[in-house]
């Protein structure tokens, strides 16, 4: 066994941490408060090389392994959930299906534009009535004279309506296979007539990232915009979510790490009863538990990444990592607020934002309940 990260993985962590501390952190609070997506920071993330970093160089990527990518998400999430979300959604949900299931022509057309920081891609799966039960999807596509005609709508889609949004991969019913619905995945570019995107406002968390509704009203795209084969939609969705779970886990881990560091610092400097509160065992033990959970989460997540990089099955471990890291993000953020006392309730303190940002993680890309379902199926329950 070897728990060492490579020099390169360590260098990537250092560089992304520097970037996160110097570029993202100073703006995060204000962007959250004003519910503002930052085109400048998005562009800078692209210039640093974060977008599509795991893609091969021919598509503008850097050819990094999964762990390097996950470390990058973790380091952004350590300072801000919104920017980690923009990155994780674009890389795992946006670029992922195009890269893993696209034809050479599709990859050559889209991927190079998605690695520079100029363009973002979204993944349209969830619908108003199809959340955990994605088979409740109503959006449909009919093939007519060499075009797909798409009708329906999607909701809670990250990066769908930014000024940078180039398009989305959309899950739609394309027919019936006996009495089972047949799902396919179709590429729709922003600006296509009949395709409208609307930014959703008044979110509790990730307020500096864009969440969108997508509307399709007789939206017509060429037949070759089909991603993968007809009827392959569910497979593409499941595979995309397996990968996405790693990045949501990284967001949980990074958020927990950031919250823990804030709590540790506060506990060392906050004086009560004549001494720093960290000198009280009740506080010290809280911090010990946080450190333990973070260590466990990191080991689990990195192992899942290692399985993927080693071309082994990783779906069970990805679900476990997503479940565990998102739940400890909640627990650690909660205790970190507790350690901050009244200050933790004030927007002036970053921990207040972390406490809100963690809440999505047990819901998005498969709720905690769905993760338990996935794990239980993997263990034969």
């Amino acid at each position: 066994m070897d728990f060492n990260l490579t020099d390169q993985q360590n260098d990537i962590r250092k560089t992304v941490r520097d970037f996160a501390e110097n570029e993202v952190k100073p703006l995060a609070k204000q962007l959250d408060e004003s519910e503002q997506f930052s085109p400048e920071l998005t562009k800078k993330m692209g210039e640093l090389g974060l977008f599509g970093m795991y893609l091969p160089e021919e598509y503008g990527g850097l050819g990094t392994d999964t762990i390097s990518y996950i470390i990058a998400v973790e380091e952004l999430a350590r300072v801000d959930g919104s920017h980690a979300a923009t990155l994780a959604a674009h890389n795992s949900l946006g670029i992922g299906p195009l890269y893993y299931f696209g034809t050479k022509a599709q990859k050559e057309k889209y991927l190079p534009q998605l690695t520079t920081g100029d363009k973002l891609w979204a993944f349209g799966l969830t619908e108003p009535n199809a959340g955990s039960d994605s088979r409740g999807t109503k959006t449909n596509a009919v093939l007519e004279n060499g075009n797909w005609i798409i009708n329906g709508s999607k909701i809670f889609i990250t990066n769908g309506s930014t000024d940078f949004s180039l398009g989305a991969t959309v899950q739609a019913i394309t027919g019936m296979n006996g009495d089972r619905k047949e799902y396919s995945t179709i590429i729709v570019e922003n600006g296509t007539p009949g395709f409208k995107t609307v930014t959703m406002h008044k979110k509790m968390m990730w307020r500096a990232s864009i969440t969108s509704e997508l509307y399709f009203d007789d939206c017509k795209v060429p037949e070759e915009n089909l991603l993968g084969a007809v009827g392959q939609g569910s497979k593409i969705m499941l595979s995309t979510l397996d990968n996405g779970r790693l990045s949501i886990a990284a967001m949980g881990l990074g958020l927990a790490q950031g919250a823990y560091e804030m709590a540790l610092e506060h506990a060392k400097t906050r004086q009560q009863f004549g001494k720093p509160i960290i000198k009280f065992q009740t506080i010290a033990f809280k911090l010990a538990d946080m450190a333990l959970k973070i260590e466990l989460g990191r080991n689990l997540l990195y192992k899942a990444c290692w399985l993927k990089d080693s071309k082994k099955q990783f779906a069970k471990e990805a679900a476990m990592a997503k479940l565990y890291c998102s739940e400890i993000a909640k627990e650690v953020a909660d205790e970190a607020v507790q350690i901050h006392g009244g200050y933790g309730l004030m927007k002036e303190y970053d921990i207040e934002r972390f406490y809100r940002d963690q809440r999505l993680l047990q819901i998005g890309e498969g709720t905690s309940e769905i993760q338990r379902l996935v794990i239980s199926r993997h263990i034969g329950a």
Binding site: D11, G49, L62
Partner: protein, 248 residues
């Protein structure tokens, strides 16, 4: 053209430093190390020349295996190759300068950048010593640098102002904060650095002129004094500031 940039591997300026058991080294436990901040300005200046007129930028550093981490950082920022003059022996400024100067001679570089000082030893003389040994022109504490053919116009920071100086290659320049805005090592740079070579050369430290006896922590700061809570304390405060602190 070939440019040598000398880089030091130093404790992070934010690190809390403790003295090691031997009293001659710091306790490296839990201390993270960085590329000396002044060397980042030095490297950026070399990379700007590389970007505008093309240059082969070679990093040179002295120290143990751990220094490779800092050389890799420089390679990731855009330097072309690195040389580690490998030794774990104690060095003073002149012995370090001799090692570096010899390597610069081997490299045949006629422009050398260093930070104005390393934030660990803080002697701030290696650049000028290297220039002296090589017989190169020397501009220290540069805050502006312009190369035109083999003519150099630079500005130096001096007390309360700047000095504009002119010299020519070959030259050694030491960089001060303000010279430029160092670039980030991009992830692309990190991936590219993997393919760049760090040449390791075992070296022997020559005679030491200045021996390190021991490290000491600065005296602990005294606790503040509260003289009173209203204006009646002012006369005593003024007296202490004048007579004890001697600041007014």
């Amino acid at each position: 053209m070939k440019i040598v940039v000398c880089v030091s591997h130093v404790p992070d300026s934010a690190a809390k430093i403790n003295i090691g058991a031997d009293e001659k080294n710091i306790d490296k436990n839990g201390v993270s190390f960085i590329l000396n901040p002044y060397d980042e300005f030095a490297l950026e200046e070399a990379l700007k020349i590389k970007d505008s007129i093309g240059a082969d930028v070679v990093l040179v550093s002295v120290g143990g295996d751990e220094v490779k981490e800092t050389i890799r950082k420089g390679l990731a920022m855009g330097a072309d190759s690195g040389i580690l003059l490998k030794t774990n022996a104690y060095r003073d400024s002149i012995s370090t300068a001799k090692l570096i100067a010899e390597e610069i001679k081997l490299q045949g570089a006629n422009l050398v950048f260093l930070g104005k000082q390393s934030i660990d030893g803080d002697n701030g003389v290696v650049g000028q010593l290297v220039a002296e040994i090589l017989g190169f022109n020397s501009v220290s504490v540069a805050v502006s640098f312009n190369l035109n053919g083999d003519k150099i116009v630079a500005e130096r920071e001096i007390e309360g102002g700047r000095e504009v100086v002119e010299t020519s290659l070959p030259a050694v320049i030491t960089a001060q904060k303000g010279l430029n805005d160092p670039r980030y090592a991009s992830l692309k740079g990190i991936m590219a650095a993997k393919k760049k070579v760090i040449d390791e050369k075992e070296v022997t430290v020559s005679e030491i002129g200045v021996e390190l006896i021991k490290l000491k922590k600065p005296a602990q700061k005294q606790a503040g004094k509260i003289l009173g809570k209203d204006s009646s304390a002012v006369p005593e405060l003024v007296r202490l500031l004048k007579e004890e602190a001697k600041v007014i």
